[in-house]
């Protein structure tokens, strides 16, 4: 059928047009999801200090509905990878991501989570997207709290437009399912 399931890379505009169509129900659910993100803070390194400041009293993340950290992947839908991911941590990250309930989004917090930063060596992984699909990357080492809030708003727009990786994948599966039924 040509709809390749594994990667969520959108090769051609036609395919994207089909995916972009959102029913009223989709729009409503995305609106609901957008404003109630429960983060699973996968904190490892120095960005953790900035994550504290973001959750702290001054740059309060609670204003965007994403304040309540849930420390179990079952109850969270936003995985925030905060800090460097080393090769030894890779399997743990992949397992936590797999155990999260759908729909799920991932924010790579800081340049180490996005590309490995200036740790280009045998132990630091060159970015968390070597292991799991990431929706929003935040540059900065550590990023300023304003950057984090800006990234959160960016993620909310992607959720509303239904362009999160997990959303695109489920939409594709539905399209493939409907395509197979219609044959």
């Amino acid at each position: 059928m040509g709809l390749e399931l594994t990667t969520t890379r959108l090769e051609n505009a036609a395919e994207w047009a089909k995916l972009a169509k959102q029913s009223i129900l989709d729009k409503a659910t995305n609106w609901g999801r957008k404003f109630s993100l429960f983060t699973y803070p996968f904190v490892t390194a120095c960005c953790g200090m900035e994550f504290m400041s973001v959750a702290g009293p001054k740059y309060d993340i609670a204003r965007f509905g994403a304040e309540f950290p849930r420390f179990s992947p079952r109850q969270s839908d936003l995985l925030m990878i905060v800090g460097t991911i080393t090769e030894k941590q890779g399997p743990a990250l992949k397992r936590v991501f797999d155990q999260m309930a759908e729909p799920k989004w991932v924010i790579a917090f800081g340049v180490c989570a996005s590309t490995g930063g200036f740790y280009q060596n045998y132990s630091a992984m060159p970015g968390a997207d070597q292991v799991i699909p990431v929706d929003v990357y935040i540059p900065g080492c550590p990023p300023r709290p304003e950057q984090v809030l800006d990234a959160l708003i960016m993620l909310m727009d992607r959720i509303q437009a239904g362009r999160g990786h997990s959303q695109v994948r489920t939409k594709r599966e539905q399209l493939v399912a409907t395509a197979n039924d219609s044959e």
Binding site: E87, G90, Y122, S123, D129, V131, I132
Partner: protein, 184 residues
């Protein structure tokens, strides 16, 4: 100030000591490998020495060491010992410091472990083993501490390239799958 430590050491353990020196405020003593354990126990238990506080234990890999501005005799050659394991000790009572160094050849980097004398060296020797491949005999539980078990090789040796990754897990739908290329 710790000069008298060196004199006491050379007096007591003349045969076990290869040479002594002092650099930038630290007294250093090079000890033969097989008498390290006795010297260390003496350093700890002797009331005049009382080295009760361990500071750190690490290893220097002298591969292709060629210091500029020094006589060519100091550049490293094949026959010279490649590794030097350094133990830094301090005595809180007498307020002096000492660094015990042991030179190990490349083909047999093995020496007796001091984890029994000072518990701090338990993990630091495991780290030195993990990073440089130095075997510590008599260490209660010598296994890798920083790297994962499946890691091959000793990363901090000078001949281990910095960016040689041995990935445990990668995403299968990566466009340019680096780990596939490496494994082929």
């Amino acid at each position: 100030m710790a000069q008298k430590v060196l004199d006491a050491l050379t007096a007591k353990w003349a045969d076990a000591i290869v040479r002594t020196g002092s650099a930038h405020g630290d007294e250093i003593v090079w000890v033969k490998r097989d008498s390290l354990l006795d010297v260390a126990t003496w350093l700890r238990d002797d009331p005049a020495m009382a080295f009760d506080s361990p500071v750190f234990c690490t290893c220097i890999d002298w591969l292709d060491w060629h210091p500029t501005g020094r006589p060519p005799s100091e550049t490293w050659t094949e026959d010279k010992p490649r590794f030097t394991v350094c133990y830094q000790l301090r005595s809180l009572a007498h307020h002096h410091r000492l660094r015990v160094e042991v030179e190990l050849p490349e083909h047999d980097p093995r020496l007796s472990s001091l984890a029994g004398l000072w518990p701090a060296f338990n993990w630091q020797e495991r780290e030195t083993f993990d990073m440089y491949g130095i075997r510590f005999d008599g260490h209660p539980d010598l296994r890798r501490i920083y790297m994962y078990e499946e890691f091959i090789g000793y990363p901090l040796r000078k001949d281990y390239p910095k960016e040689k990754r041995q990935p445990l897990v990668r995403r299968d739908d990566l466009i340019d799958a680096p780990h596939k290329a490496e494994h082929k």
